[in-house]
Amino acid sequence: MKNVFSFTRTPYYVLTGGLALIFLFPLVWSAYASVSPQAGSAQKEGFGFGNYETLVNYQDGIWTYLANSLFVSALTVILTVTISVLGGYAFARFKFPGRNLLFLLTLAILMVPYATLLIPLYVLLNKLDLQNSLVGLALVLTMFQLPFATFMMRISFEGVPRELEESAMVDGCGTFSVLGRILIPAVKPGLITVGLFAFLAAWNDFIAPLILISDSSKSVLPLAIANLRQQTMGVIDYGATEAGVVVLALPCVILFLLLQRHYVRGFMSGALKG
């Protein structure tokens, strides 16, 4: 089987190299287009960062949107990691009434379409006085992360040998200090994966803020960049849009290159959209 695609060498390199080019070209182009001269954008002549200046001056300014996005992402990561570590520990190491039911219900979140939940969540957050709030958005994004995160932490904890904690228990540690001192250091890879995916999901999510956030000063980055396109009458500022894409994509691409290994494991979670 391994030889089906072994052509004679040159056509093989041309074909696969061409394919790689198709995958890399849009990324390179967006970076290039964000600094290259372009009619209708702030960067009319020569290369420079005019389009990024447009972003800085757009409505509440990109720093506001960056701060909003970072706040939502950070809160989502903190909530997701905390809840899934405690929950995963409970599911992996304790028996209590309703344990299996709760675990199944957590996984069932995956089976209900995003859009089906967002309509009632819009109403519910209004009732909780969390409408148009970044905290409310982070709570909703955390809920969507829970199935993968809880599953991941449960199997991570189950992979740690019980002897490790039993000896600590004998030494008088309670279950909570066992978790903090022994188990959490032992499940670090799972923790990084869960945190990474919570960050990427929160950073990139579009439909949840589109529905839940209406105030432009509370907008997050993907929403602000999408809205930027309709800003000026008639002329569309493509340069600023691509500058926005670079700001959005850069952290993701850097994280990807640094943590490629963890991506592979976590990819399964993000696949349900698109």
Binding site: F91, R93, G98, L102, I207, L210, T241, E242, L248, Q260
Partner: protein, 315 residues
């Protein structure tokens, strides 16, 4: 009585609630329940209650601003099914799902076969194919929105200079070109991901199976269709379920690239839900009814897929 039972209960690790006399914080079962409480609160508040609420809303007269005006079942359902975009959006969503699924799994498999061996060039290829998956779907859509634009897009000039076309292409201008341009974006964004799933499946096939096929004199094509594909079934099934579910719920890419146009030709079901709730009619009731219909369709399709998988396993 209770005291004599205690050591036994402790050994089992789960004392029946209400039977033990020790302080609560010493009971392992209760501690576990406490650790699971945040999960339970989240699942209840942000999942179970919304699911119940969407059912109630789908059977109520519920305006975006007016709020709940009482039950009206089945008005929302008849209204949404009679909507002029209902059948076109369902048809379009299925058509889009079929195209995307066939291309993504076919291309993903071909790419997995190309990069499965080790080596510098192959690991470069693997990384190139995977980098687009790092982008958010909205970012990727915004990127391609510029790439496809008639003013600044580089594609028409490049194709012209290669002599492949004479006139600039309007990538998002006609219903057909808008569909295929979006399909191209999705394939670009997700092909690496499906390559990864199928690559993991390929690596699980033991080498001696190929050895046996070689000794039996199987040709490459025979080996592929008789050995590789059947052994890859579970990975293909996983890809299929993920891809079909994801595509049926497509929203971001069409919202950003086409807004449902041109001529309302690219309205997906989720876009229609969004339009019902936050577009002109501002009707959360019909949006909820349509959400329930989508949920039902998904359950039926996934049940069918699982059944097909089981039947395939039996043969």
């Amino acid at each position: 009585m209770a005291t004599t039972l205690m050591p036994m209960e402790e050994a089992v690790g789960s004392p029946p609630p209400g039977r033990q006399r020790r302080p609560f914080r010493h009971s392992r079962g209760l501690q576990g329940a406490i650790y699971a409480t945040p999960t339970a609160i989240f699942v209840c508040l942000f999942f179970l209650i919304p699911v119940a609420l969407v059912m109630q809303m789908s059977a109520s007269d519920w305006g975006l601003i007016a709020g709940n005006k009482g039950w009206n079942f089945p008005d929302n359902f008849t209204k949404v099914v009679d909507h002029r975009h209902f059948w076109p959006s369902i048809l379009f969503t299925f058509k889009y799902t079929l195209i995307v699924t066939v291309i993504l799994i076919g291309l993903g498999l071909a790419m997995a076969l190309i990069v499965q061996d080790t080596g510098r060039w192959r690991s470069f290829l693997r990384t190139s194919f995977l980098v687009p998956s790092a982008l958010g779907l909205a970012s990727a859509s915004l990127l391609f929105w510029g790439l496809y634009s008639p003013q600044s897009g580089p594609l028409s000039p490049i194709l012209k200079s290669l002599g492949l076309i004479d006139e600039s292409i309007s990538f998002l201008g006609t219903p057909n070109s808008a569909l295929w341009s979006t399909v191209f974006l999705i394939v670009w964004r997700y092909a690496g991901f499906y390559m990864l799933i199928l690559m993991v499946g390929l690596q699980r096939i033991p080498p001696d199976v190929y050895e046996a096929a070689r000794i039996d004199g199987a040709s490459r094509m025979q080996t592929f269709f008789r050995v590789t594909l059947p052994l890859l079934k579970s990975s293909i099934a996983l890809s299929l379920i993920l891809c079909v579910t994801g595509s049926l719920l497509a929203f971001d890419q069409f919202y950003i690239l086409t807004k449902g146009g041109p001529d309302n030709s690219t309205i997906t079901v989720v876009q229609l839900i969004y339009n019902q709730a936050f577009g002109g009619s501002q009707n959360l009731g019909t949006a909820a009814a349509l959400s329930m219909i989508v949920l039902l369709i998904l359950i039926v399709i996934n049940a069918l897929q699982f059944r097909m998988m089981r039947n395939a396993d039996d043969n």
